[in-house]
């Protein structure tokens, strides 16, 4: 479609405006918003779509602002092979006129005209494309939403494809839908097909199962027949075996008597043998008895000899034991004597030692008593005098202090001299004095001095301050001196010194006494010491009287010690001797005891041996009495002959039996019996099995397996057919879809390439030589690449998106538009987001596109599109 001219009259704010558009190239329509540059696209919409009789809301808006006239629009358009002028007026004198100029002249009015235009546009203009190519002011700046089929179709056509009917898209949808009936989106078989295949398998499974059951029945029936056949054979086998058993049994019985004879002979032989053994046993026992008598005799002799040999040893041992006992007793006596001597010697030594100790203790006791007396004296001194060296020093110091204070006082005190001028009595410091004439009373006034002449005068002398202080000091020193003397109970320093010396002496005496006491008491108390001393005295005094006379008491302790030592040696020797004798006596006693026990044992053994010998002799005697040796020998030889005879007879009989081969006979008989039993068993088993089969078949035959199998087969066949039908449909749908899809893609590739190329060509003008785009399935720009950097379209700035949007439209239009096809690109004040540099290059791009299609730019900011070089600029009158 091409727009040649648009005339507006009484349209909104526009009184009358007539704009012509070149068929190719860019037309920039400038006008203020109010003037209505946007009126042009709106007016186009109105005239193409609204009847002149319409009074709908949008139409109300286009009525002129200040005056009462019907808005008019007139356009001249070419589209496809058509070119026509078209006029409409609304509200006031509504009117529609159409003048078709090409291909054939036509003149129409009213509704007819309206419908004719609609028909022409329907035939020649892709409405979707027309809308997509327009950019309205204020709309979201961005990429055009081309209807894919529409743009695709247009591009395809431009790329040399043939006209595609719109019904094809619906067909494609139906192909896709049909495919999805049998296939999943990812190309797997659909659930329905899978479940159908499953059902076919299940039906087959059912058939197999039923088939197997039927086969089992058939097999059972066949087995039953076979068993019935076998039964005759088995009965025959059984009868045959029974006959064999009967024949063989008769033969077997014939050998029976022979076997009985053998048994009897065998028994005879066994009996004779047993009897022989008894006699043999008797013989044996007789021999044993004889041997026993001999052996017992030998044993007795041997024992008697032993007893005889043992007798002297026993006597010697007894004697030795007695001697040893005697020696032991002597040694023990000697030891006791020695021990007595030792005790006396010890006592003597102790006595001498006690004597010495008693003397020592006595001395210590005396010393303690003396020291205690000294101690008491010294303590009395110490108690009575408190004057020690320290106090002496203090007294001495206080005396010096007092003297010093006194000197100071005297130096500072006022000297008062009162001279009585007549005899008079005065009171000095409250004390009566009688003074004669010229008597002088002197005083050093340290504090206050008062002289009163009664009734005459009172003189008070007051010492100065310094003097008073000195007086106080002196008083204090004096008092301290006095206090300290009093403390020591002394009157003077010399006395104090005397006292201190006395005290020191007493202290020394006390310390000495204490030391003496300690040294002599040591660990004892005085009472303990006294007791001990007393005990010793008692013991020492009584000892000589109590002691035996001889030997004489040793002279002194040393002598006593020597005696002890000597006696100790004697005692020790005696002890050794006694020990040795004791050991010897013990050994001898043991040996003697042993010898006695041995002798007793031997005596017992001897007695036993004698008894045993007697018993054996008695037994043998008894036996011989019962059966003399000769009889016994005769019986033995007779029985041996009998056994020999029985054995010979038995061997003969056995040899007879062997000649008849009873083993083979027995084996045959047993086997025949077994065969019979086996045949009977087999027959029973056979009958049992047949019965089982019959029961089983009866039970199963009733279940109508055959009908069920037929049903299952029917079902399987129906399902299989259905399955095959569905499968071939699925394959057909798949192939159809696949083929269409491939051709669709190929076709798309055919027209996408030039579209992409065109976008990039225009885009490079704006963005530079590295500009590339990627289109998605909806033919929209999905990615933009610049300087090797690829960004998704959403990541771009609004400005860049807007520019891309314009470029896409221009690219599309310039591809589809040659030879009057497609539709004009209408840009209503877009690029508000673009900076001046971009605007400049966009201008160049629009200009470039304008060479191939019709571009109409509407703007109220004239500068924005100044860079479109070849644009025709139309200014709408205000």
């Amino acid at each position: 479609m091409r727009l040649h001219r648009v005339r507006l009259k009484n349209y909104r704010g526009v009184v009358d405006s007539d704009v012509e558009f070149p068929v190719e190239g860019v037309t920039v329509v400038e006008g203020d918003n109010e003037v209505g540059k946007s009126c042009i696209p709106e007016a186009l919409e109105m005239i193409l779509n609204r009847l002149d009789s319409s009074s709908k809301q949008p139409l109300k808006a286009i009525r002129p602002v200040h005056h009462d006239a019907g808005p008019e629009v007139e356009v001249e358009i070419s589209s496809g092979g058509y070119r026509f002028k078209y006029f409409k007026r609304w509200y006031r004198k509504p009117e529609t006129t159409l003048e078709v100029i090409a291909p054939q002249r036509e003149q129409l009015t009213g509704r007819e005209a309206h419908e004719r235009v609609e028909a022409i546009l329907e035939e020649t203009l892709d409405q979707d494309l027309w809308k997509a190519l327009a950019i309205e002011q204020g709309a979201e700046p961005g990429l055009p939403k081309f209807g894919v089929p529409s743009l695709g179709k247009a591009l395809d056509l431009a790329a040399g494809g043939t006209q595609v009917a719109s019904s094809d898209d619906a067909l494609w949808d139906r192909i896709c839908a049909e495919r999805l009936r049998y296939w999943t989106g990812t190309g797997r078989e659909s659930q329905e097909r899978k479940s159908l295949a499953n059902r076919v398998d299940q039906a087959q499974g059912k058939i197999d199962d039923l088939d197997a059951q039927l086969r089992a029945i058939e097999d059972d029936a066949a087995e039953a027949s076979r068993l019935a056949g076998q039964e005759g054979d088995l009965a025959f086998q059984r009868d045959e075996a029974a006959e064999a058993v009967s024949t063989l049994s008769k033969q077997w019985e014939a050998t029976e008597s022979l076997r009985h004879q053998i048994e009897r002979l065998d028994s005879d032989h066994d009996i004779a043998q047993a009897q022989l053994e008894v006699i043999d046993g008797n013989m044996q026992r007789r021999r044993e008895l004889v041997d026993a008598v001999r052996d017992r005799g030998r044993e007795l002799a041997s024992l008697e000899e032993k007893v005889e040999q043992a007798a002297p040893g026993l006597a010697l041992a007894v004697q030795q034991s007695e001697e040893a006992t005697k020696a032991l007793r002597a040694a023990q006596d000697a030891l006791r004597t020695a021990q007595d001597k030792l005790r006396l010697a010890n006592d003597d030594r102790d006595y001498r030692r006690n004597q010495i100790e008693k003397d020592q203790l006595y001395e210590r006791h005396e010393r303690v008593l003396g020291a205690q007396k000294d101690l008491r004296i010294a303590e009395a001194v110490l108690d009575s005098s408190q004057v020690d060296d320290e106090l002496v020093d203090q007294i001495e110091q206080a005396g010096l202090e007092e003297t010093r204070a006194k000197i100071a006082l005297e130096a500072s005190a006022a000297s008062v001299e009162a001279t009585a001028l007549s005899d008079l009595s005065v009171l000095i410091d409250g004390q009566d004095f009688t003074m004669g004439t010229n008597a002088v009373q002197r005083a050093h006034v340290t504090k206050e001095w008062e002289l009163v002449v009664p009734d005459i005068v009172q003189v008070r002398v007051l010492a100065g301050h310094e003097s008073q202080d000195s007086a106080t000091d002196f008083e204090t020193a004096q008092q301290e001196h006095a206090r300290l003397c009093a403390l020591g109970g002394v009157g003077s320093l010399a006395e104090a010194r005397q006292k201190a010396d006395e005290r020191r002496e007493a202290e020394r005496s006390r310390d000495d006494s204490v030391k003496t006491i300690q040294e002599n008491l040591r660990d004892l108390t005085l009472e303990g010491l006294a007791q001990k001393l007393e005990g010793l005295i008692k013991r020492v005094s009584s000892y000589p009287a109590d002691r035996q006379q001889a030997p004489p008491l040793p002279e002194d302790l040393d002598e006593a010690k020597r005696v002890v030592s000597s006696v100790e040696n004697d005692a020790s020797e005696c002890q050794d001797e006694a020990d040795r004798c004791e050991s010897t006596a013990e050994t001898a006693a043991k040996a003697s005891k042993q010898a006695e026990v041995g002798a007793a044992l031997q005596a017992e053994k001897l007695k036993n041996a004698r008894d045993a010998k007697t018993q054996a002799e008695q037994k043998l005697e008894e036996e011989r009495h019962n059966q003399p040796d000769r009889d016994l020998n005769e019986a033995l030889s007779a029985k041996e002959t009998a056994v020999q005879n029985a054995a010979t007879a038995l061997q003969q009989a056995e040899s007879d039996l062997r000649a008849q081969d009873p083993d083979t006979l027995k084996a045959k008989l047993d086997n025949a019996g077994d065969v019979k039993v086996k045949a009977e068993d087999a027959l029973r088993t056979n009958q049992g099995r047949r019965r089982d089969l019959r029961v089983k078949l009866e039970a199963r035959g009733e279940s109508g397996l055959h009908s069920r199998l037929n049903d299952a087969k029917s079902e399987h066949q129906h399902l299989t057919r259905e399955y095959q039908r569905i499968e071939s449909r699925a394959q057909a749908a798949h192939l159809l879809h696949q083929t269409f899809e491939r051709h669709r893609q190929e076709a798309r590739q055919r027209y996408i390439a030039p579209f992409k190329e065109q976008i990039e060509q225009l885009g490079r003008i704006v963005f530079g030589p590295t500009f590339e785009v990627e289109l998605d399935g909806d033919l929209r720009v999905a990615q933009r690449t610049l300087d090797g950097k690829t960004l998704d379209i959403e990541q771009l700035s609004v400005g860049a998106r807007e520019q891309l949007g314009v470029i896409c439209r221009l690219a599309c239009a310039s591809i589809v538009s040659p030879e009057g096809g497609g539709a004009p690109v209408v840009i209503d004040d877009a690029l508000g987001w673009s900076d001046p540099t971009r605007l400049q290059s966009m201008g160049a791009a629009i200009a470039a596109a304008g060479r191939d299609c019709q571009v109409i730019v509407l703007t109220c900011t004239p500068g924005r599109y100044a860079h479109i070089g070849n644009a025709k600029v139309v200014r709408l009158p205000a």
Binding site: R174, E702, N710, A732
Partner: protein
């Protein structure tokens, strides 16, 4: 003269896989009904008895229901005894239906199973000589065996047998084939007087004597049965015999091969299908060969679908069908496709001509037709 009714091959319990939905029960019902018809016919004709020459039941493992319904139908003709011969489908083996509790407990008085080859006196002076099957695969000519047991007698003897006769049987090695010539010899010598056979579903007079007959099945059971749906009313003595075919079957099996190459062929097919009588009891199998266009195939499909609903069953004979659907230019033009769609269709047309994807491609084109809605 003794008069009796000769039938065979009831094959009760048979199911036909091609009978879908309600047709199978009707088919089953018809096969029970025909027993009643037989009983009534026998009574009306004054037949002394009915012999059923084997394959009374489709299998030894038929359901209880089948047995009971058959008894119910037979017991309707109280005056006519039914003599049932075990055949190859229902041999008297250990699993035999004739030994089943249902059978033995509910068997009506007028039903007799021919359980062994001993002759049975049916009416005075008339003996049945049965040759029952004891297994599915007998190893001898059972009919001959039964006849071998016969002793000389004056009675009219009717042999009751089942199986294929040796003349014209394709399987000469089968030891169970019935020797026709030996039967004819026995007929010639007057040892036997009629041989009532079952197994062949087409009514057939065998051999030269006119006394050896297959009665055929009373209701057809399959395609290719030449003259089914009859019973025989037989009247004979040693000298004379009269055998009458009585058609009593209601159902029909039709099969046909049609070549389809033009719209006229389709017209003819439509006319032929339209002319079939008693459609609800007719089972048709078609072998279709030839080549049709997409539009013709669509018409054929509609035609077949229509008659499927009318007929008891309408099968296509897969094995013998060779119908190629080739889209012609008209078909493709009708699609009014352009652009890539046209290219895709051209490619599919190419594929449809030959190669292993030809069938799928033809189907795809047919599908496209359907989706494009040009043939609706």
């Amino acid at each position: 003269m003794v008069k009796f009714l000769h039938t065979a091959d009831w094959q009760l319990g048979m199911t036909r896989h091609f009978l879908a939905g309600e047709a199978q029960p009707r088919f089953d019902g018809a096969r029970i009904d025909v027993i009643r018809t037989i009983g009534a016919l026998a009574e009306n004709e004054g037949c002394s008895f009915v012999v059923v020459c084997g394959d009374v039941f489709e299998s030894n493992q038929v359901s209880r229901q089948v047995i009971l319904r058959a008894f119910e139908a037979m017991s309707a003709a109280t005056q006519v005894p039914f003599y049932l011969l075990p055949g190859n489908h229902d041999p008297l083996d250990a699993s035999s239906v004739y030994k089943s509790p249902t059978f033995t407990e509910h068997k009506p008085d007028n039903v007799v199973v021919l359980e062994d080859p001993n002759p049975v006196d049916v009416v005075s002076g008339v003996e049945l000589v049965p040759a029952p099957w004891f297994t599915k695969r007998p190893l001898t000519d059972l009919v001959a065996d039964a006849c071998d047991l016969l002793e000389d007698a004056d009675a009219v003897r009717i042999v009751v047998g089942h199986g294929a006769v040796d003349t014209l049987s394709p399987d000469k090695s089968n030891p169970a084939l019935i020797s026709l010539s030996s039967l004819e010899e026995r007929i010639d010598t007057g040892q036997i007087h009629y041989v009532a056979l079952g197994d062949r579903h087409s009514t057939t007079d065998k051999g030269r004597t006119g006394r050896v007959w297959y009665s055929g099945a009373p209701e057809p059971t399959d395609y290719g049965e030449i003259n089914p749906g009859n019973v025989l009313v037989v009247e004979l003595n040693a000298e004379q015999i009269q055998v009458q075919e009585r058609p009593i079957g209601d159902w029909r099996f039709l099969s046909g091969e049609r070549e389809l190459t033009s719209d006229e062929d389709l017209d003819n097919l439509e006319e032929w299908l339209g002319s079939v009588d008693s459609k609800e009891r007719t089972i048709v199998k078609l072998a279709l060969i030839g080549q049709v266009s997409l539009a013709q195939k669509a018409r054929l499909d509609r035609l077949l679908e229509h008659h499927s609903d009318l007929l008891a069953a309408l099968e296509t004979w897969e094995r013998r069908s060779e119908l190629v659907v080739v889209p012609d230019d008209t078909d493709l033009d009708k699609l009014e496709l352009s652009g890539f769609a046209r290219e895709a269709v051209d490619e599919l047309s190419g594929l449809a001509e030959s190669g292993n994807q030809a069938e799928a491609a033809r189907d795809a084109l047919a599908l496209l037709h359907r989706l494009a809605g040009v043939d609706s």
